[in-house]
């Protein structure tokens, strides 16, 4: 999967979760950058990613995800495995 396709599909999950078609995330985006990104929406983001990409994200992986860049890297690694 190309980087462009990955980032577009990640954006799609964020847009669906936040019901906002204008959202576009980048590597440095964190929870404090998006209004309403709280514990509940975080659950929706993780399960949305699992559904969109057909992967499972473990608790350890969630714990060590500091920004969207870490999410891109994790998804890329899982899709290549």
């Amino acid at each position: 999967m190309s980087n462009e396709e990955l980032t577009a599909r990640v954006d799609g999950v964020f847009r669906k979760v936040f019901k906002n078609e204008g959202i576009s995330v980048h590597r440095e985006t964190t929870a404090k950058d998006i209004a309403g990104w709280d514990s509940i929406t975080h659950l929706d983001i993780i399960s949305g990613m699992e559904e969109e990409f057909g992967v499972e994200i473990t608790g350890f992986e969630v714990m060590n995800m500091n920004d969207v860049g870490d999410l891109y890297d994790l998804l890329t690694q899982k899709l290549e495995a």
């Binding site: 964190t30 709280d38 514990s39 509940i40």
Partner: protein, 489 residues
């Protein structure tokens, strides 16, 4: 001895012990004290004495030196939470008549934006000067949700804190080498209990990164720093379970204190599979009674004691007196339901600038003891433990925060421009979620956007429903039960 003198004694005895850790950075007690002295100096140089000072809480290490430095200078702190909307902070500034706020120079632009009327004092400019504090001095003022749209200020003195700590030291003895988790915003009073549990006993306070997702960051801190004394709201476990994090065992946790919300027994069971070696306590208390008033050390009989799956809140702290009363103020017999009243040296002296509200909930008995009417309905079970049943009023706990539904409704009505607006709290799994209902057609995102600039995130409804015509009951009032049935089940 004052709380501050206790901390001073710890600094003298254990200057090289770790006092504070955030991420990869740590300060010893000597370093913490030196930085606090600089804050104290900064305040004294600006001529501030026996007053309240804003503490900009954007979760940097320096704000903990700020807290201690404000006390050293003989002043009290008021948390200025950077996650709160400007409008709410303006009300807090006005209610407490603040003039100055302490923060990092790098936070200057955000401080100017959120509290433009306050003069900033930057940590970087402080020069060490010693200070002292008397027990009667004000320690902090916290603001909780108020049904009229104005937050209620709750001033707490050092003497109140000292009374709390007399129980805490006996119940939770700690020493250098112990690590205490701090995963609460400074605007929530459990934070100060965590700070004092650590710093009055020489333990290490490990602060979770509260700028991230709190439940995850708290767990990460427990995991990465092998914390042994953990305080969490029960709802944190809901998120940790969903994120599959509870599969990672945390054998170093020795004590877990659940607080801020009713504690389901299922949470206790689940946490025991993760924190295998931890004993578990359930702590209850309104801010008016200085953090905690009742605590239950859960034992092997706990499963038999649950009511509707919830654990008891236990028995009063050693400095708390308790009555369970009927509507006439007469004590009920054991097992009967009644309102919980708490009394003693932990009880606050009244709401800031709200004598009528104070008179409704606070009174002095013939011996001069202050009593606070909590508004919580409870009963004493067969084991002599207190069971929480529900609230008398329209107040709920959301992620540990106290929320007056009336306050959210007040702002919602202003946002939509008419009175037909209702907010309901709904239990989803073990989490309390708010839902808003407005009569007529609405643009949900617009309403939520307008609300977001008036109330903190935890008071924001999960969804706003537009309802053609509100159902009404026989008294002509909005039928909340039907709304709940039609939309939330």
């Amino acid at each position: 001895m004052t709380i501050q003198q206790h901390i001073h004694q710890i600094v003298d005895r254990h200057p090289d012990a770790i006092a504070l850790t955030m991420g990869n950075e740590s300060w010893t007690y000597a370093e913490l004290y030196q930085k606090s002295k600089c804050v104290s100096g900064l305040i004294q140089e600006n001529g501030l004495s026996q007053t309240s000072i804003g503490l900009f809480t954007d979760n940097q290490m320096e704000m903990y030196a700020g807290l201690l430095g404000i006390w050293m200078s003989g002043n009290a702190y008021v948390p200025i939470n950077h996650k709160f909307p400007q409008e709410r902070l303006t009300k807090i500034v006005r209610e407490r008549a603040l003039t100055h706020v302490i923060g990092m120079e790098s936070s200057g632009p955000q401080m100017k934006e959120l509290v433009p009327d306050l003069s900033p004092l930057f940590y970087e400019n402080g020069v060490a000067i010693n200070g002292d504090v008397h027990e009667s001095a004000l320690a902090y003022t916290l603001f909780t949700s108020g049904s009229t749209g104005v937050p209620k200020g709750i001033p707490i003195d050092h003497a109140h804190l000292k009374a709390l700590m007399l129980d805490m030291w006996e119940r939770y003895p700690l020493a250098p080498g112990n690590k205490v988790l701090q995963a609460f915003e400074l605007s929530f009073d459990v934070s100060i209990a965590c700070v004092l549990l650590a710093w009055t006993q020489g333990a290490e306070l490990v602060v979770a990164d509260l700028n991230g997702i709190t439940a995850i960051q708290a767990f990460k801190a427990i995991h990465d720093h092998q914390i042994d004394f953990v305080t969490l709201p029960p709802s944190a476990l809901f998120y940790l379970r969903k994120l599959k994090m509870l599969k990672m065992e945390q054998p170093w946790v020795r004590k877990t204190l659940f607080t801020g919300e009713a504690l389901p027994y299922s949470v206790v069971q689940e946490w025991k599979t993760c924190a295998l070696n931890s004993t578990i306590d359930n702590a209850y208390g309104p801010t008016e009674g200085t953090v905690w008033s009742l605590i239950d050390a859960l034992d092997e009989t706990i499963e038999q004691q649950t009511v509707n799956g919830l654990c008891p809140i236990g028995q009063p702290l050693k400095t708390i007196a308790m009555r369970i009363v009927d509507d006439s103020g007469n004590e009920v017999v054991d097992g009967e339901r009644g309102e919980l009243w708490i009394g003693g040296p932990q009880i606050f002296g009244g709401y800031l600038g709200q004598p009528e509200k104070t008179a409704e909930v606070l009174f002095q008995d013939e011996q001069g003891m202050h009593w606070y009417k909590t508004g919580d309905i409870v009963f004493k079970n067969a084991w002599g433990k207190i069971m929480y049943v529900n609230r008398k009023d329209n107040q709920v706990q959301v992620n540990g925060f106290r929320v007056e539904l009336g306050e959210v409704e007040f702002h919602l009505r202003v946002c939509v421009g008419h009175d037909a607006a209702v907010v309901l709290a709904h239990q989803e799994n073990e989490v309390t979620v708010l839902y808003a209902f407005v009569e007529g057609h609405i643009e949900e995102q617009e309403v939520l956007g307008a609300l977001r600039i008036k109330v903190p995130g935890y008071m924001l409804p999960r969804k706003v429903f537009g309802v053609d015509v509100f159902p009404v009951n026989t008294s002509g009032k909005i039928d909340k039960q039907t709304l709940r049935k039609n939309y939330l089940t």
